[in-house]
């Protein structure tokens, strides 16, 4: 007998479920943050490299394209932080009923948007602006 086929999974499973969406976004934002560490490492290397190297790095890191990268990183950070807290609560066995986790999915969605808006405002208008 021929080998049995494998039933379709990712291609048929509904992606717009609170459980799927929050899990996928948590992983995605984690990957984005890990890759974003390269920027931090570059900055640290520039700091260690002396005044000239730092001045050079500063020019690059304050360019417009890096502002967009920072915004992406802030968005990933906002979501990943709150999703992580949600996982910590789950690890205590609390908030795991279906209705509760549906509510907390909405909660971390809204809160992470607010956190992101706040951080983006701080970065663009305060920290990144004129001294």
């Amino acid at each position: 007998m021929a080998e049995r086929p494998l039933s379709p999974h990712l291609s048929v499973y509904r992606m717009y479920r609170y459980s799927v969406l929050t899990s996928v976004s948590n992983r995605l934002s984690g990957i984005v943050l890990s890759v974003g560490l390269i920027v931090l490492v570059y900055w640290l290397m520039a700091v260690a490299g002396g005044a000239l190297a730092y001045a050079h790095a500063l020019a690059i890191l304050s360019s417009g394209i890096f502002k967009i990268i920072y915004l992406v990183l802030l968005a990933a950070f906002s979501y990943h932080l709150l999703a992580g807290i949600r996982h910590l609560v789950w690890d205590t066995g609390r908030g795991m009923e279906r209705a509760q986790s549906q509510r907390s999915a909405w909660l971390i969605g809204v809160l992470s948007l607010l956190l992101f808006a706040g951080l983006a405002w701080w970065m663009l208008c305060r920290a990144g602006g004129a001294p």
């Binding site: 039933s7 799927v20 690890d91």
Partner: protein
């Protein structure tokens, strides 16, 4: 490892369309996964137009109607038609559920029906559950006790003790939860999956069971238990409103607590 693509023998080819006879009152379109092991061909998705005014309101009613009136070769499991046997678990419109308790009124005009995800397919909507059952058996889903039962009756429980196992013991082993779990998709060779772990939990917390330590020992394994990453698809889909994700979290807690 995570295999995102289907193997070559599992990719879906175009299927046939069965048009509804004219004069249908309440037309719905069903796109149903078909696989015939004797044909030697890859699986396909056939389209059935059906007048659902001629059958009952549940998805299972429509499947039975199609088998009776359109294509008698359509193969699926069903028995009790009231959500207690767990036979007709399948992926309906992207979510694992029981065909018998899923009302067509809650779905669109077009209904997609696939077998439970990431399982070997025996025929059409019938997945091979051998491995799933073996995993269930591996958690020893029976009472283990050295103490003999009282000579004049059963082993009694308090009401509170019974309430603890009331929900977990209501599992019908339909496999909706395990086959909704991406961790189970990629690691079912070693990860037990939500259904088996819920069963393990049901016996761990049973006040009459005396093998709690051995049961926890057996689960303390990076794969059997800890491949659960709390994605929550299991609890999301359970047709009996049970909570395998919470059961797994409680087992993890017990493993930590007994270390101190």
């Amino acid at each position: 490892m995570a295999d995102f693509r289907l193997p070559a023998n599992s990719r879906i080819r175009k299927g046939v369309t069965h048009k509804a006879p004219s004069g249908a009152r309440e037309l719905r379109t069903f796109r149903i996964y078909r696989f015939d092991p004797s044909s030697g061909e890859n699986p396909s998705v056939d389209t059935f137009e059906l007048d659902v005014g001629e059958c009952g309101p549940m998805v299972l009613d429509a499947l039975i109607r199609i088998k009776d009136a359109v294509d008698s070769s359509l193969t699926f499991r069903r028995s009790c038609r009231e959500g207690i046997c767990g036979s007709c678990a399948m992926n309906i419109d992207g979510v694992n559920r029981l065909a018998c308790t899923t009302s067509m009124h809650d779905l669109g005009k077009e209904i997609r029906i696939y077998p439970l995800p990431h399982m070997p397919v025996v025929k059409d909507l019938v997945p091979d559950l051998t491995h799933f059952y073996a995993q269930y058996a591996s958690v020893k889903p029976w009472l283990v006790a050295q103490t003999p039962p009282p000579p004049d009756g059963e082993r009694l429980q308090s009401k509170a003790e019974q309430e603890k196992i009331d929900r977990p013991a209501a599992c019908i082993l339909c496999a909706c939860c395990s086959t909704a779990c991406p961790s189970y998709w990629w690691n079912s060779d070693r990860y037990l999956g939500p259904a088996a772990l819920l069963a393990a939990y049901r016996w761990i917390i049973d006040s009459r069971d005396e093998a709690t330590g051995e049961r926890l020992d057996a689960l303390e394994d990076p794969f059997k238990l800890y491949r659960c990453h709390t994605i929550m698809n299991c609890t999301d889909v359970c047709p009996k409103d049970l909570n395998p994700a919470k059961a797994i979290a409680e087992i993890k807690k017990m493993l930590v607590e007994r270390q101190s």
